[in-house]
Structures are given as C-alpha cells and as structure tokens.
C-alpha cells in the first residue's frame, strides 16, 4: 500500500477511459482533443494516513473540458459527465467511485473557462479523494 503517484494517476485514467466518448489524459497534457478528462497532480498527497507506511491520502483534481461550440450545447455536454446518478460509462463520479479507496467528493465550476493551447473550453474540476 501507500500511494505511488504514477500508479494512482494511471489507475484514475483507466477508470475514466470507460466513459463513452471521453478522451482521457492521465497526465497534465499540453493539448487535448475534447471532450477530455485530464488527471492533475494531487493537491496534496499526504503521507502516513496510517501507521507503518500503510496508506497515504491524496486529493486529485480531474479536469473535464468540452468544446464551447455554443453556450447551451457546451453546458449540456458537460452536464452529462457531471451526472452523479448515471452509470460508470457516463458519469465521472460513478467511474471513479468504483476505484477501491477512491471517492469523488465534489465538482467545482469556479474556473468555468479553461484555456489549453490557446483554445477556450468549458470546464469542470472534480476533486477526487484517494486513500491507498
């Protein structure tokens, strides 16, 4: 146990790859093809959640971005991935909650427009709690 950063981000990426139509980057990509999920670096990764280097705890940001084709269409596209009641092939929460020790705590829209490689996208930031 204890979190290996590479393994953890790969694992989150693998879980997200099960979502239909979502392109997944398990690293901070310089350029993306939308709709995309980008697994960010943990904020923070806290060591020693239990004794004996048993487990660590980390909060991973997962950024989901969709194209701003039109305001309403972009909102509708993003909302699908944010649906907390849908299954693991649709919902970011369902897909990541299925990972052992993992829970999507919330989704944040405080930075609704994310610029990647000079293009603006409508964005949601999921905060993922991982204990492993």
């Amino acid at each position: 146990m204890a979190i290996n950063l590479n393994t953890a981000m790969d694992t989150l990426g693998t879980a997200l790859a099960g979502i239909t139509g979502l392109r997944v980057y398990d690293y901070l990509a310089d350029n993306v093809a939308v709709p995309a999920a980008v697994v960010g670096l943990p904020q923070p990764l806290t060591y020693d959640h239990t004794h004996g280097r048993g487990t660590d705890r980390a909060t991973f940001p997962v950024y989901v971005v969709v194209g701003k084709v039109s305001d309403r269409a972009a909102r509708d596209a993003l909302a699908v991935f944010c649906d907390g009641t849908a299954g693991a092939t649709v919902s970011v929460k369902a897909a990541l909650d299925a990972v052992p020790g993992c829970r999507v705590m919330d989704v944040d829209f405080s930075n609704p427009v994310m610029s990647i490689a000079g293009a603006d996208y409508l964005a949601a930031t999921f905060h993922v709690d991982l204990v492993a």
Binding site: D48, T50, H51, G52, R53, G54, T55, V131
Partner: protein, 141 residues
C-alpha cells in the same frame, strides 16, 4: 536516545492463529497504563503514604475498517470477537517501530470494545479497546 514520529509506531495482535501486524490500517495507538496506589497512611502521619499495588491498563486503537484476508482490522477483530472470551494471547506494541532492537511491550489482553463508524463523507473506520491482562513484558524486537 531520541524522540520518534508517531507514523513509525506499530502494533501486532495474535488472532488465535498467528501474530498479525494490523499497523497499516491503524491511525492511532493509545497505550494507557496505571498502577494502584494502596493507602498505607497511619495515625500520626502528616501526609498520606501509599504503596504501589497492581498494575492495570488498556490499549485503544482507531483506524480504517479493512477486510483484507488475515491482517485487515475487520478480519482480525471479527476472529477475536467470535471467541468465547475475546481473549488475546499476545499483543506487541512498538512505539518506535519493529526493527531489530526497537523497544517492544508485550502483554495479553481482552477485547472489551469494538466499534465501527461510517460517515457519509469519509472512510469507514473502527475503534477498539483492549484491556491489558497480567504483567507487561518489556523487551526488544
């Protein structure tokens, strides 16, 4: 001599078959020990006097509920709870770790309390209280 960070402490509990290191699932280890002070005060004394009597103590653990085979906290404590008396033949506590030469306190005990909690926004957790039975042996790992 040196102080130690709490993250290095470990605890092993005998489940009736083997000594199990449950430390990877434990967040706090409280090792509380006491001794009776039997009153020996007699007339004419200006201050109370005592003589040390029997020792007593308990170990309280908190941590993550885990059903990993053999060594998970739920697994180990379920095995102990299923016994007729809840007795534990050996508990070993290493406050500075369990490397060769590290200080070891070992004793028998009785599981007197085991609680599980499941907050909606955090990990399923457990707490356990083990009453120390008999003398504590201090040695090294």
């Amino acid at each position: 001599m040196a102080n130690e960070h709490g993250s290095v402490s470990q605890i092993l509990i005998h489940d009736g078959s083997s000594l199990r290191n449950i430390s990877p699932y434990v967040k706090t280890i409280d090792n509380n020990q006491s001794r009776d002070a039997n009153d020996t005060t007699t007339k004419g004394a200006t201050g109370k006097t005592y003589r040390g009597g029997l020792t007593d103590g308990e170990v309280r653990l908190t941590g993550l509920w885990d059903d990993t085979a053999s060594v998970g906290t739920r697994t180990v404590f379920a095995t102990i709870k299923a016994t007729a008396t809840g007795g534990i033949q050996t508990i070993e506590v290493g406050m500075e770790g369990i490397a060769t030469g590290d200080i070891k306190e070992s004793f028998a005990g009785v599981l007197t309390q085991y609680d599980e909690s499941s907050p909606v926004d955090d990990m399923v957790a457990f707490t356990a209280t083990i009453k120390i039975s008999g003398a504590i042996t201090i040695g090294t790992f």
